[in-house]
Assembly symmetry: C2
Homo-oligomer: 207 residues x 2
């Protein structure tokens, strides 16, 4: 799957100050990036799709939902876009809250054009890695989802290190039947070895 980075990766800019928003969008575009401006957190969240790639730049102080709330909302939605928070007021408390909420960067206005561009480029790279990791994770998760209830039970017992005999005793079924579920688990998970299966399952966080 070939993709044009500029077309695929969007820099979502959220700022209620129209002038600041425009100038930032302009700056990003002039650097060959693909910015998309929003005047409020709400309109941005509505427009945001799950498969979005790129990063977010948000002002802190905005009517309605502020930048930190937006950040928390994004994290709650398991959004993996890095967020650069910008502020016009030197408020340490807000900065700390933003960083604890998972902001990638927190910078004060006015900032150098070069600085924001450098941070955006770093965030885009970070997001590329996160997208890869997330895709891997989702692939495994969807495979686990395709397992039947029994197969999932068997997977859990395999993860616990139980042998087929033990699994059979635990589930009160024949060892033969366990073998079948085990084979199904291996093929549905597309694991070609036990260590593969375990690594996949562990890394998906579904322990």
């Amino acid at each position: 799957m070939v993709m044009t980075p500029a077309a695929e990766r969007t820099v979502f800019v959220v700022d209620d100050d129209a002038a600041a928003l425009d100038s930032l969008v302009m700056l990003l575009r002039s650097d060959g990036l693909n910015p998309s401006g929003f005047s409020s957190a709400g309109t941005f969240l509505e427009a945001l799709t799950r498969d979005a790639r790129g990063c977010v730049i948000s002002d802190v102080r905005m009517p309605g939902m502020d930048g930190v709330q937006l950040l928390k909302t994004l994290k709650a939605r398991q959004c993996i876009l890095p967020v650069i928070v910008i502020t016009g007021h030197a408020d340490v408390t807000v900065a700390v809250q933003a960083m604890k909420a998972g902001a990638a960067e927190f910078i004060q206005k006015p900032f150098e054009s070069e600085l924001i561009l450098r941070l955006v480029r770093a965030c885009l790279e970070e997001n590329d890695d996160a997208v890869d990791a997330s895709a891997r994770r989702n692939r495994v998760l969807s495979r686990i989802d395709s397992l039947t209830a029994r197969e999932r039970q068997v997977l859990n017992l395999i993860m616990d290190g139980a042998s087929n005999k033990v699994i059979a005793a635990t589930l009160a079924i024949s060892p033969r039947t366990v073998e079948i579920y085990r084979a199904n688990v291996m093929s549905k998970m597309r694991a070609d070895s036990l260590s593969d299966l375990i690594r996949m399952t562990l890394s998906s966080g579904a322990a």
Copy 2:
């Protein structure tokens, strides 16, 4: 191993301002905690042992090594003590740097006694969990360390999902010999199943 929390867990306080240091130490002691004061990052780092438990409270602005440098030094030493950074100056840049360097909290002077005590208690709990995780990790790491060169190679190939036959071909030795190394690995790692072995090894970070 029974331990008295107050005696085991130390709150390391680093501040070049003797009056502030004393009052903070006093406050912590009055709350039943076990504080230990240092007037510089250097003297603290010298006194710090690897098995220390508790947390750190450090001022930012200090002659010699400042709070953020101290924080980075601790992280570089893989120290798992949570660090609460306190500052007398509302400097957003420093706050962001501290948070990015892994500070647990960043608060401004003057602060409420109740606030710092609450944060310290949270950090102590956080450290308890981190100590447990670190102990588990070190136990596994020391077991890996007890493996011979060949046994380690076999472990790596097992982690890759290779069968004994494949391992034998890879190392150009007899499958029989691989079986022996494999058995040694299982017993030295004290794993009672393959999934045990894989989970242990993965969680130790020695992938």
